[in-house]
Amino acid sequence: MNRSVRLFLFISVSLVFLSLCLGVLTRLQLVRHTMPTPEDIVQWHSLVDLHLPSVKSGYGDVAFEDAKMAFYTQQAIFIDARPYEAYQRAHIPGAIFLYSKDYDVLKTKLTFSKDQLVIVYCSTQQCQMANKTADLLVKDGYRRVYVLTGGIKEWAANQGDLESHYVTF
């Protein structure tokens, strides 16, 4: 093996090794979501009633604070519009899995009233799957459909409750 090849291998392996080391450090630094304390829940319950903007046609947007209140006061049904692997990994407790692409098959699970407050979410603000699912729900006659602004990312970042089918995160 000549010097050039050895140097090539050395640089490649060093780069991968350095990336892995930084990756391990990053993984350790990843924010772990925590359960809200009972005091938090009491405080949320003591807040004023949920006032969401009315939806004339189509669906509306709901901010994290309102969604959290709706969650802890059990006023809303949450729908997870992401693929099943993402849903399994972490979702808002009790959220119904309804991946936008498989909407026609999965909508049979929706047994609640068309007047029920529904909050749809996907991963982030930019993710379009929640909007797609919300659009389909509205077309199916659901009248109070909202999309969670910031998605589950913001929910987790603000220490919203999460449920996972996996032990590791």
Partner: protein, 153 residues
């Protein structure tokens, strides 16, 4: 007619190397600022075991950043005079090519399986994997091939 070894072509290749490096730095930093989104995208691709996703999402942005920084450093006038610089730049270009090829295969497999997946190419954007993202990746592979060919001349 311009020869590939001419000064102008050398300058163009250096500029393209810097552009590719900046692209990697941008992609890596965008991913690093949105690891949750990246993890979500990786899960949607459904190519890695779930237990590997967090580690992959933590490592990939750093790898991109290092490759980008390496490509940019490789064309710095001072470092160009170092005799090992060509091997260094060649290694970085091969690493870049490997990553681009992996992304190309991953995106093509998504299209082939008929999945609707957010690309996650430059952080968690709204862009879904499609012919546009595959075409963009293919363009970058072509660019990278030109740079590799240039380094071997």
């Amino acid at each position: 007619m311009l020869h590939f070894n001419s000064r102008v072509m050398s300058f163009i290749c250096d500029a393209l190397t810097v552009a590719l490096g900046l692209m990697w730095v941008y992609a890596g930093s965008m991913k690093l600022t949105d690891l949750w989104g990246l993890m979500d995208s990786l899960l949607q691709y459904n190519l890695l075991p779930v237990s590997w996703v967090t580690m992959a999402a933590s490592t990939l942005p750093w790898m991109e950043l290092l490759i980008g920084a390496g490509l940019i450093m490789g064309v710095l006038p001072y470092l160009k005079r170092v005799s090992e610089n060509r091997i260094f730049l060649l290694t970085m270009s091969w690493m870049s090519m490997t990553l681009l090829t992996v992304f190309f295969v991953a995106m093509y497999s998504v299209m082939w399986r008929g999945l609707e997946v957010t690309c996650g190419c430059f952080g968690a954007g709204a862009q879904f994997v499609g012919w546009v993202t595959i075409g963009r990746d293919f363009g970058l592979i072509l660019l990278n091939s030109v740079l590799l060919w240039r380094l071997k001349v």
